[in-house]
Amino acid sequence: MKPFDYIRAGEIEDVAGGQIIAGGTNLLDLMKIQVVAPDALVDITRLDGLSDIAEHEGGLRIGALVTNTTVANDARVREGWPLLSRAILAGASAQIRNKATTGGNLLQRTRCPYFYDTSQACNKRAPGSGCAAMGGAGRMLAIFGTSEHCLAAHPSDMAVAMAALEAEVEITNASGETRCVPMNDFYRGPADRPDVETVLGDGDLVTAVILPTPRAGERQTYRKVRDRASYAFALVSVAGSVRMEGDTIKDVALAYGSVAPHPWMDQKVVEMLEGETASNELFQRAAKTLVPETAPHPDTEYKITLLRRTFIAAMRQLTGLADSAGTDISRAHS
C-alpha cells in the first residue's frame, strides 16, 4: 500500500475529499495492489445513524453501515424480502459478509482482470489508457450496456436483488441534504467515462437503502450460476419476484446480475409476461427478447445461452411450473 493519511470521520461533512472506507473488503484488496492509492482514507464506521435497519413507510430503511450478514439475517427481511436474504447469502463468504456493508456492496468495483492488473490498459482505472479486455480474455465481462471504452460487469448479488425489489439509494451531501434515487438511476453506464460509476458527487455519501413495502404472497427467488458451488462471483444471475392469480402472471419484477455494468433490467420482458398465462412457450419467447443477438466480446457468447436458460428456470420456479429449492414466499410483516 502507498502511504495515506487516516482520518476517522466524526461528522458527515468530514467525508469530502477523501477515499471513504467502511468494511474495506474490496477497497483494501485494491489498495494492496495499488489499483487504488488514496492520499487520505476516511473511516466512516463511527458515524452515527447509519448502522440500523428501521421500519420506514411500510418498508425498511437499511443504514449504509449495516453489514451484509445483518441484512440477510434480519427477521423482517427474511419474511418480507426473502430474495434479498438469498442474494446476499449467495455472495462472498461468511467472513466477508460479516465485514462488508450495504453501502460498500453497492460501490464495490468490477472484478475485470485488466482493472486489477496495473500493467494493462484500463479506462476505469486509468482514464484514457484504453481497454485491454477488448481483444483480451474476458469470460466475466458484460453482455449488456457496455461501451467502446469498457466491457466490465458489476459483480454484486445484493444490488441485483435490490433492483428487482425497486429499492432506492439514499444519498446525503456535505450540507446534510438528503435525496433518494432508484437503484437503476444510481449507476451510470460506462459511456466515455467508465471511471465514473455512479451519480455520487464529491462529499456525497450513501447513507441508506430504502426498501418499499413487500407484497404478501409473492414468490421470490435469486438464481445464481457460477463456476463453483460457493464463494465465487456470478457468471449470470436472475433476481425475480412474481405474484400469480391462478395461472395468470399478475405482477413481475426482474433484474439480472453480472451481465452489465450495473444490475440490468428490461421493461419489455416484464410487459410480455404480465397478464399472460404462465407457460414454457411464453418464457421461451420472453427469453429471446431479453438476450442480445451477439455478445460484445467473443468470450461472453456463452452468457447469452446461460442467461436465457437461467431466466426460463427462474420463471418456471416463480410461476410454479417447476418446484425447486430456493423459492421463497414473501410474507408481509406488520
Partner: protein
C-alpha cells in the same frame, strides 16, 4: 496511529503505521503467530479471527480502524493441555494434512456453530426461517476457508463431532 485492542481477553496498546493490517499486528507486534497469512487478499480464510464475536478475515482489517475492539485468535480458544471441543475434534478426525489452514478453519467453525445456534440461514437452506448442520450446509457455510490439501471431508466430520459434543 495509537490503537487499543483487546486480544484473547488481554488489553494491548499498539502504535502502528495506518497501513498495518490486523493480521500483521497480531503476528508481528503481539507475538501471536497462530493466525496464518495465506493469500493476504481475503480469498483463503487462513487469517480468520473473531472480531467482537464474529468471524472476519484479519488481512482485510486495518488495525487503526479497530480501536476498542475485541479479538479472539486460535491462541484464545484453547491451549495444548486444554483443547476446545473443535480443536479436539480436528485432532481426533485428522481434520488437516499440512495444517496451515487449520487455525482459520477452527476459528471459522467456532463462529459457524454459534451462527447455526442463533438460527442464521445460508444460501443452501431450503427455508430461510431455519438453520441446520447437514453436510451441504457445512460445505456452504465453511466456503470462505480453503484447504489446498483438500481435507474437507475430515474437516466436516470434525465439525459435526464437535457440534454433537456441544449438544
Amino acid at each position: 496511529m495509537k490503537t487499543t485492542l483487546t486480544v484473547n481477553a488481554r488489553e494491548y496498546d499498539v502504535d502502528n503505521d495506518p497501513r498495518r493490517t490486523l493480521l500483521d499486528t497480531l503476528r508481528d507486534d503481539l507475538g501471536l503467530p497462530g493466525t496464518k497469512k495465506g493469500c493476504d487478499h481475503g480469498q483463503c480464510g487462513a487469517c480468520t479471527v473473531l472480531l467482537n464475536g464474529e468471524r472476519v478475515n484479519s488481512c482485510l482489517c486495518l488495525t487503526a480502524m479497530h480501536d476498542g475492539d475485541e479479538i479472539t485468535t486460535i491462541e484464545g480458544i484453547g491451549s495444548p493441555d486444554k483443547l476446545s471441543a473443535l480443536q479436539e475434534a480436528f485432532v481426533k478426525h485428522d481434520g488437516y494434512q499440512c495444517g496451515y489452514c487449520t487455525p482459520g478453519q477452527i476459528m471459522s467453525a467456532t463462529a459457524m456453530l454459534k451462527e447455526i445456534s442463533d438460527g442464521a440461514p445460508s444460501y443452501v437452506s431450503d427455508d430461510l426461517q431455519t438453520a441446520s448442520l447437514s453436510d451441504a450446509e457445512m460445505a456452504e457455510r465453511m466456503s470462505g476457508n480453503l484447504c489446498r490439501c483438500s481435507a474437507y471431508p475430515l474437516i466436516r466430520e470434525a465439525i459435526a463431532m464437535a457440534s454433537e459434543v456441544k449438544k
